[in-house]
């Protein structure tokens, strides 16, 4: 490691040590001031062995509290203490161990991705093109009779093949060679070591046979096998890069949504262009149709509709009037508006969403951890097997001995094994994200596939958290009064769900806002009161609320609805019955889940009567009302003791302990503030029917992971003995290695198709 004593002369990363700079790729810990979480992008991290090495090396640094590297997404999450270390220190460390890192800001991720992809394609094209030419010169020697071609011609074709193999060795194969060199210098065994060893040995043998034939290495060349092997390896890497771009693409797309520059109203009223990173709370921004809102804020001038599907799962455009809140990352669809910025950067819902996805992609599922642990012993086994092959054949035939060893090295390239789990899980996570389901931990996929019992919360999960006015009973003596105007004006200032429902109702009944309210007051647990002076109204003091608050006579004992009274003095003007409504698709979703053989239970804190009514409506066999959080917890724990795998579906906020206790939890609904949601998965939007296909897709994911692991294991178990016995020519070993990796990746690609609502 480089010394940090004179960083000002050596460290190119010093610029990152200013807080405003590291804030661009880091988030502050919620409780601890000095603790930060940063995401960096490591281009050269290809395999489980690399990520393990990075984690090991960085964890030893003072002030670095946690390192989570994911080879599949090429991201590393670092938790660090700003009072003890600085970004430049660990960026320097990345350089020192041979894995240069870049901060994950949207700009870098984009250009590096394109550059990496082009470079990989170029290496592949060179290798494949040269391979085809080498094949052409190799083919005649395979098919012709012994004296058909003159020795001079054979020699010329060998020279030509050697010349065409040079670019493959010196350029196309460099990623494998340099990675192998780096890991050997670190005295570690990376996955590229056996591969590189095989390539180099084959090239050296062939070169000797070309220019100095006749000694123990004979005169047989392997340029065709060599170029073919490198080509196959590169095809594997190329598909890997493509797949990664596709699955991690969901995340990248989100991060790229915020525009780089915005139009801001300057002090003299002119529109000026500023960088999105310079937006402050209180700025007035001009947003044209087709642009993306760069910050959370309120519409000041104009009205438009916004596409919020990516953030809330709401597929319909949302109408935005003056004063309405627009959210960062949503798209402005129809008209030019001016907005006032209320929330920027880390405080926005958009930012919370991006963080959620970023942390999910660096999280390692249990199965992947197993692959990491097995990587090192496996590599040693490969080298020993190759050595065994050399010793076994050396006395009979040195050429065969060396080529058998090369075949062992090549055939066991453990890419398939290390890709099996992350490729499948990331593919699914990316697909879910596109469909409006966010995954906080990749383990959730595994847990989800084992679920047999689902516990639902009621309000906000099965029913809409919004209330609806079922019935309005107006006092016949008060029909001359503008009751709906009073109702609309009174409820306008309150954010209580009941007030919102009544306000909406009053407006649909032709009520107008605009009456003057005096001494308006909202009494918690009671209702609203104010003084309104209208002609023909007996008393100006108006109350709206429950029976006790208004002093009204309770009209009925119907426990299913909630009654709200509007009083003027002692005179009852009106009574409204409000009900919770079931969400659309709930009935269908529950039926499907039951028909899948899942045990459904409903636990609610609400009164018993409405809970039972809902349960019988939906056909839920077990339903309990008046459940406090600890009752729910006890119930879930009892189920778990009976050996059930419990999925808790709730609003993600109120049931903290239950959510923590359940095997897996899902938060429902667009109203959930993502920063606070503790659930493993978040279903954006209100559609419960996603759940059925979600469980099915998780099962399919785990099935594919297992399929991949079994395939990789079987392939290696079969390939190694064949290679040792010398029955596997080097080119066939290369083909086997590449196709086993490709099979794993293509198998994972099957997971990118997910039909919401279909099993």
């Amino acid at each position: 490691m480089l010394s940090l004593t004179h960083p000002e002369t050596q460290n190119p990363w010093l610029g990152l040590d200013i807080q405003s700079e590291w804030e661009r790729f880091s988030q502050r810990h919620q409780a601890e001031e000095a603790i930060w979480t940063s995401h960096v992008w490591v281009e050269k991290m290809h395999c489980a062995a690399c990520s393990g090495r990075i984690e090991q090396s960085l964890k030893q640094m003072p002030g670095v509290l946690g390192v989570y590297a994911s080879a599949a997404s090429k991201r590393v999450k670092i938790v660090w203490d700003a009072s003890r270390t600085h970004p430049s220190a660990w960026f320097q460390n990345f350089n020192a161990i041979g894995y240069p890192a870049l901060p994950v800001t949207e700009y870098h991720a984009l250009t590096d991705r394109t550059r990496e992809q082009r470079m990989m394609l170029w290496r592949l094209v060179v290798a494949v093109f040269c391979m085809m030419q080498v094949m052409m010169y190799a083919y005649p020697t395979y098919v012709s009779a012994s004296n058909d071609i003159t020795p001079e011609m054979i020699q010329l074709m060998k020279w030509a093949s050697w010349l065409l193999t040079l670019p493959v060795m010196l350029f196309s194969a460099t990623p494998f060679l340099s990675q192998a060199y780096l890991s050997l210098r670190q005295r570690q065994l990376g996955m590229d070591v056996p591969v590189a060893l095989g390539i180099v040995v084959a090239f050296v043998m062939s070169t000797l046979a070309t220019f100095a034939p006749g000694s123990w290495w004979g005169d047989v060349t392997y340029y065709d096998s060599l170029t073919m092997f490198v080509s196959f390896l590169l095809i594997g890497r190329w598909v890997d890069v493509k797949l990664r771009n596709r699955t991690a693409g969901a995340l990248e797309n989100m991060m790229r949504r915020i525009p780089n520059a915005v139009q801001k109203k300057s002090d003299d009223g002119q529109w000026v262009q500023i960088a999105a990173s310079n937006i402050n709370v209180g700025d007035i921004l001009l947003v044209l149709p087709g642009e993306v809102f760069a910050a959370d804020g309120d519409i000041m001038v104009g009205a438009t509709s916004a596409d919020e599907s990516m953030l809330t799962g709401e597929s319909e455009p949302v109408i935005k009037h003056q004063g309405d809140r627009v959210i960062a990352g949503s798209g402005n669809l129809t008209a030019m508006v001016e907005m006032r910025v209320e929330q920027v950067g880390a405080g926005t819902q958009y930012h919370a969403l991006v963080n959620l996805m970023a942390s999910a992609s660096t999280e390692k599922p249990g199965i992947a951890l197993l692959a990491d642990k097995l990587a090192q012993p496996f590599l040693w086994f490969v080298l020993l097997a190759a050595l065994f092959a050399v010793i076994f054949w050396w006395t009979t035939d040195p050429v065969k001995a060396v080529m058998a060893a090369v075949a062992v090295l090549v055939v066991t390239c453990p890419c398939a094994l290390s890709l099996a789990t992350p490729a499948a899980m990331l593919a699914s996570a990316g697909t879910f994200a596109k469909g409006g389901v966010l995954i906080r931990r990749l383990q959730a996929i595994q847990a989800m596939s084992e679920v047999d019992t689902i516990v639902f919360d009621k309000t906000g999960t099965l029913t809409d958290s919004l209330l609806h006015v079922q019935q309005a009973t107006l006092n016949t003596e008060a029909h001359h009064l503008p009751i709906y105007d009073v109702l609309a004006s009174l409820t306008q200032r309150s954010l209580h769900p009941v007030s919102k429902a009544l306000h909406q109702f009053a407006l649909t009944q032709g009520g107008q806002v605009g009456l003057v309210l005096n001494e308006f007051e909202e009494i918690v647990g009671g209702g609203l009161q104010a003084n309104i002076s209208i002609q023909a109204m007996p008393v100006s003091a108006v109350k709206l609320g429950n029976a006790a608050f208004c002093g009204a006579i309770e009209r009925s004992e119907d426990a299913l609805t909630r009654q709200v009274y509007l009083m003027s003095g002692q005179m009852q003007l009106a009574c409204f019955d409000l009900v919770e409504e079931m969400k659309a698709n709930t009935q269908l979703a529950i039926q499907q889940l039951i028909s899948q053989g899942l045990d459904i239970q409903l636990l609610s804190g609400d009164k018993i009567a409405p809970v039972l009514r809902l349960a019988s409506q939906l056909g839920i066999p077990v339903a309990l009302g008046l459940q406090k959080a600890e009752d729910k917890l006890q119930r879930v724990q009892t189920l778990q003791r009976q050996g059930h795998k419990v999925l808790m579906v709730g609003d993600g906020l109120n049931d903290g302990p239950v959510i923590a206790a359940a095997h897996i939890s899902i938060a429902m609904g667009s109203g959930v503030p993502l920063t606070q949601a503790q659930a493993d998965m978040v279903i954006l939007g209100n559609d419960l029917s996603v759940l059925v296909s979600l469980i099915a897709h998780c099962k399919k994911t785990i099935f594919i992971v297992k399929q991949n692991l079994v395939w990789a294991a079987v392939y290696n178990a079969a390939g190694v003995p064949l290679a040792i016995m010398g029955w596997l020519p080097a080119w066939l070993a290369g083909l086997g290695m590449a196709s086993s990796s490709l099979l794993v990746l293509v198998n994972a690609l099957r997971l990118t198709h997910w039909q919401k609502g279909q099993v």
Binding site: T114, R118, W122, F129, Y137, M153, L156, A160
Partner: protein
């Protein structure tokens, strides 16, 4: 068959020329988006 002694070196040289062309194609992003370019002519701008 003596012509092969000229043709083989020529072919090898040709390979490097063609690779040069491919290098240009990749670096100018000719392979970046294979779907959109084909349908672009059908879209109105």
């Amino acid at each position: 068959m003596e012509i092969a002694f000229i043709l083989i070196p020529l072919a090898v040289m040709l390979v490097f020329v063609i690779l040069g062309g491919l290098w240009w194609a990749i670096q100018t992003g000719q392979f970046e988006d294979l779907e959109e370019e084909g349908s672009r002519i059908l879209e109105q701008d």
